[in-house]
Subunit: 151 residues, 2 copies
């Protein structure tokens, strides 16, 4: 087990240092984590949007992977917005996230629900389904950004 631990430490990534009491050792780790999740989400959601808008050809296999990513990754960022994670690394998070917690939670849940619908639509392999689901999900992203993300 000692050898195993030394291998993990040797990986040298701060995010691998998991403390006993919390998933993030430092606020900057939480910020980096949530930014990473939102970057992946934005990329794959944007890729689906490109297909929904006819900007890129519809590719059922790519859409299926995008669906898997957005369905799973949309669940991840939220626990990384804990108390004290408003600073520690450059962040576009607005103070309202911690002042209006219920509203922020509601917005995040709305987005997850809409994105789940997009993922299900993308999984059907039918472009019309994707087109129908994409707009409301994009609006749920925008609504949360408008209220809780610095411009």
């Amino acid at each position: 087990m000692k050898k195993l631990m030394s291998i993990v430490l040797a990986l040298g990534a701060a995010s691998l240092a998991v403390p006993a009491a919390a998933q993030f050792a430092k606020p900057e780790d939480a910020i980096k984590y949530r930014q990473s999740a939102l970057t992946l989400l934005g990329n794959h959601f944007g890729h689906l949007g490109g297909m929904a808008q006819g900007k890129i050809p519809f590719d059922a296999a790519a859409a299926s992977l995008d669906a898997d990513v957005v369905a799973l990754v949309s669940k991840l960022p939220w626990h990384a917005f804990g108390p004290g994670t408003d600073t520690g690394r450059p962040t576009a998070a607005r103070p309202e996230i911690w002042k209006e917690e219920a509203k922020f939670k509601g917005a995040s849940e709305k987005m997850q629900a809409e994105v789940a619908k997009v993922a299900a639509a993308a999984k059907t392999g039918n472009l019309d389904n994707l087109k129908a689901a994409f707009g409301p999900a994009a609006q749920s992203c925008k609504a949360c950004h408008d209220d809780f993300r610095k411009r």
Copy 2:
């Protein structure tokens, strides 16, 4: 559709600008994407490692989510190491990634295979299974970092 496009553009994330010919508009987008994927992977793999090592209590539900993330996200970074993505944003990627492509591909595939075993083990809800699978996967991460990641 114009309205839909304006919503997507209004989201303001560069990663949402999906070009017709490639998933990344700029090398920096590719670098940010792969770093984000590896950050999420490191976090959740590290969380599983903490449980495997007895540093944090084993939690079957958390381990199951970790398993979903590492199984999916371990597949993602590789297409973002395309030609010309060696610069554009600070990166720890070593030039050997593009000089020894077959070796890099082999290392990435070894990691994905080992991480898939960890994910399957974590899904069993049995800590001993997780312990058994974790070491070889951690070594596959380390091996690739040793050869292809700047210290």
